[in-house]
């Protein structure tokens, strides 16, 4: 399974311009670690609302760039957060691993 859906990525590139997508990828790569940080501290504090919101942001941004697998992993965590029960197991690490892979591929693409 490819990490980035090239149909989505190319359509976005066409709609916004090649230079812009570079900016967009940078914004995503800068913002996502912040969201991870929020998820970790929310997890520690048991704050499911903040956890859910950060997962929601990662999901939304991943989907925008065509990183569908990352988006669906984040969606699962968002759902867990929404249910108010923060039993995430190793899912956060899995999500982080997926992000690192997407990051590498985005670096190559943009």
């Amino acid at each position: 399974m490819t990490l980035i859906d090239m149909n989505v990525y190319n359509m976005l590139k066409e709609a916004t311009g090649a230079e812009f997508i570079h900016e967009l990828v940078n914004a995503f790569l800068e913002d996502t670690p912040v969201q991870f940080e929020q998820m970790r501290s929310a997890l520690a504090a048991g704050d499911s609302e903040v956890f859910c919101r950060a997962a929601h942001t990662i999901k939304s941004n991943a989907a925008t760039l065509g990183a569908n697998q990352l988006a669906s992993l984040a969606r699962e965590l968002e759902k867990i957060g929404r249910e108010g029960n923060l039993a995430v197991g190793s899912r956060l690490e899995v999500l982080h691993e997926a992000f690192e892979q997407v990051k590498n591929q985005l670096d190559e693409l943009s």
Partner: protein, 346 residues
Amino acid sequence: MSISSSEPARLLVVDDNKVNRMTLSRSLQVQGHIVETAENGREGLEKFRSGAFDLMLLDIEMPVMNGFEVLEACLNDFDLRQIPIIMTSAMEELDAVVKCVELGAEDYLTKPVNPVLLRARVSASLEKKRLRDEQRKLFRTFATKEVAEELLRTGFSLGGQIVTASVLIADIRSFTTIAENHDPSDSIELLNQYFSMMFDAVTRNGGIINQIVGDGLLAVFGAPIFYEDHRERAVKAALQMLEQLKTFNEKQLAQNKTAIRIGIGITSGKMVAGYTGTQNRAIYTCIGDTVNLADRIEEYTKEALRPLLIDENTRQGLPEYYKVEDLGKIVFKGKNQAAHVFAVLE
């Protein structure tokens, strides 16, 4: 992507997610629009209130004030209500989206937003707004803001309904004589000044002008929007007309110009109201015995030598502080029953 074929519009993108804001505003700018952004609901609402926007793209899940709350605030605002709002949301929030559309959001888009759909939905919403604005402008030329909104909301279909309302008919006495003593452009000028005074009095009291024929006008109070006090509104408008005319005449006489005298007849009751004409040219009008009687009573002002006459039904709905003079029952031409007529004293 090429530049949009539609006119550039001023758009507001409200989203707490930076990547979403960037993507949406860039896509819309590429399509030729002018875009501003806001990071949360409250900021969005403040910007929307202060700027002249043509459309807002509004996220649902946001901190400070969510999209749902922003939408409600806009729909409760008379001016903001006219501007289309497109909700943007994740696929999973479809329940919330349905609620927004039911409330009055113009449309919705799911994120990630497909650029082709974005263009189509924005263009369609702007086009609908443009048509509504044009209609509104048209309606406002013969009705108050409130009546115009009512017409827009309920739409206007050709076909009548029975309403309870008051009809006011006003006519200039011996305008012909005045016209003969003026050149044509002066006469039209005089007529326009006169009508602007009369329109002002009608719309200020919530009435609408239905017809202008020559120097006469027919206005209705209480339809298409029903007012409990339609009788008083009509009489108030008539008294204001006479008052304004008095001031106007003083100025005219001071400049050695012709003064205008008018007669006004008001009746109240049931009548058939609706749009008559064709789809291309239609007017809102009222017909029925109540309207015919108003015409007769207005004519009778000449004989009665009183400028403002009303029928019994109107008299009954007037508060005590209006002074009236009972002129008795009059049998009008073409009518079987006598009508009880009253003069309202200025």
